[in-house]
């Protein structure tokens, strides 16, 4: 199988290198081809998602992504929107047809103290957020800024709602069988459609799943005050952007959060943390999330659950034996990666 690796900007190259090292160890038969995306791709090709990268995806089985984007005051942020690093990321999602972003939020036993929440609230949290990734206000063409007024359009079709809801129901079947669909149906028509279609799909094809509906403002509260109530959460793109980042703070470090984006073709696997330009190039970034993303790549992209489990176990061990700085430890990127490698054996 062929994997395309896109290290991107900031700490992306460092953490991706660690993930690639682990990947080669547990899946020595894969081919890994590296390409540019984001700010570095703009600097080289004048395009944050250049044609050569796009071409490389055509026969890829999975994509391993680092991070994209620069510091707040980066020159990249002064470019027209379509040339900025983030546009490369959005174009990549679109090119791959990745409509379902899976964001597991799990508090590792023994690491509850890292959470900003009280340990009794953090303990045992195990949520899967399924965020719709290609619809809503992100990609709709009906958008404009013109003088004194600007607008964007939050649009969904039944087909878009159903395909992502299916992923959520399917995931819930492997878990506790409960799905919370999040919307703002008391105010928005687009949410009314969302709620109607999710409900109809459940009634038609997933009768074994327990489905409930909650408003996005209420979920923002409950995810903090009572996170254990959730199993699978499914929601539209913008709400998912906010809620998945919110939930990601519960385990205490973004350095622990992998993600998978699935869809029509090759899946996209990436740590959720940003490019952290302040520590880029110093060799101290925590590569755990990138390595766990390689685990998700093996599980969901290449259907190799055994290799994925091997990685998850090794990361767990390394987090305890060699915690990185963001976790209150002293291990640098290399030391942590070596700890994972030796825990693999």
């Amino acid at each position: 199988p062929k994997i395309v690796s896109l290290p991107g900007d900031g700490i992306g190259p460092e953490v991706t290198a660690a993930a690639v090292q682990v990947l080669r160890e547990v899946a020595p038969d894969v081919t890994i081809e590296e390409h540019l995306i984001g700010g570095v791709a703009y600097d080289t090709h004048g395009d944050p998602f250049p044609q050569v990268t796009r071409d490389a995806l055509s026969d890829a089985d999975a994509v391993l992504l680092g991070t994209v984007g620069g510091a707040q005051d980066s020159a990249w942020n002064l470019l027209p929107r379509h040339q900025r690093p983030e546009s490369g990321l959005l174009a990549l999602r679109k090119a791959l047809g990745c409509y379902a972003n899976l964001r597991p939020v799990r508090v590792q036993p023994g690491l509850e103290h890292l959470s900003p929440l009280k340990p009794e609230l953090a303990r045992g949290v195990d949520i899967l957020i399924v965020r719709e990734l290609l619809g809503g206000v992100y990609f709709d063409g009906d958008r404009k800024i013109d003088g004194d007024t600007a607008y964007n359009t939050m649009r969904y079709t039944t087909a878009e709602v159903e395909r992502v809801a299916k992923v959520a129901f399917w995931a819930a079947e492997q878990r506790k069988g409960r799905v919370t669909s999040v919307d703002k149906a008391n105010v928005l028509e687009v949410s009314e459609l969302w709620r109607r279609d999710v409900t109809a799909l459940r009634d038609r094809d997933y009768r074994g799943i327990h489905l409930n509906h909650e408003y996005v403002d209420s979920v923002a509260m409950l995810i903090v005050s009572d996170p254990s109530r959730y199993d699978v959460i499914v929601t539209e793109n913008l709400f998912g952007d906010i809620l998945s980042d919110l939930a990601a703070v519960i385990p205490g470090s973004l350095g622990l959060m992998p993600s998978a984006s699935l869809g029509d073709g090759a899946g996209l696997f990436e740590p959720i943390h940003g490019s952290a330009p302040d520590i880029a190039g110093k060799g101290i970034a925590n590569p755990a999330a990138a390595i766990m993303s390689a685990g998700m790549l093996l599980r969901h992209g290449l259907k190799r659950p055994d290799a994925a489990n091997q990685i998850d176990r090794a990361v767990s061990i390394a987090l305890r034996s060699h915690p990185t700085r963001d976790l209150g430890g002293a291990a640098d990127t290399q030391t942590f990666t070596r700890a994972v490698m030796s825990a693999l054996e």
Copy 2:
């Protein structure tokens, strides 16, 4: 001065009665006229914001609101959108021209243990969220659900952005002088306008204010992991809905959270908690937020800061001496209200 009181649904009547009692004590000269809104208004008049209520507002100096809405499975939720209780609330905001929703989030010293956050994170939190309340996706007429597709439009004009940003800058001048404007300018044109106009206003008229811009997903994280970094937050309607509710969990009970909505004419003052149909009519609801909303009414609506301070002090005392059940105590609505009344003297 004339105050219109709109107790609404659920626990609204109980907590509003408590607030009115306190208000009469500290401002014996005000006239208070009670009217219907929400589900009870629909039941009586077939309209969640009936004409008689609308008429009463014309010469009001301020409006004291309880709560609107029923349980998830309430018959009200099966009505067409414009007849549901929430539509009464939205119509009320619009009728009053209340474009700036002020949501103070303060952790009371000594009550840090109530927070879902670790006490060291909760201690000293003092944020004011200013939410734009009449624009964006809430009221825009370009909205539709039609067969397999639905959309809503998130629209802002410069005038809408400026008037609410002014309130945020003005509030920051009375506080620590720092404003964080929240948007999603890396994806949305409407956010690009927002950011541009907030920046221009600061550069023109509020040079003494320290302004920064953050993305909504990032703020959702930081408000939990590092809430003390914020002084004043200003944002658009939908982001404000989510973030203000999120921030409201930090003090540990929604029963402690008042709000003020200001604009062209009379202001609207209400507790942020919902109608809590499960405990309605039992006399056990915590009226602190409603009483504190009466305090905000005196401060912002009638410009009587002394009376407002009197209420805030008395509530602080009563919270310690007679905590209600949501705070781990045993006081019921009446007992708590009596404690506030006697602390007033």
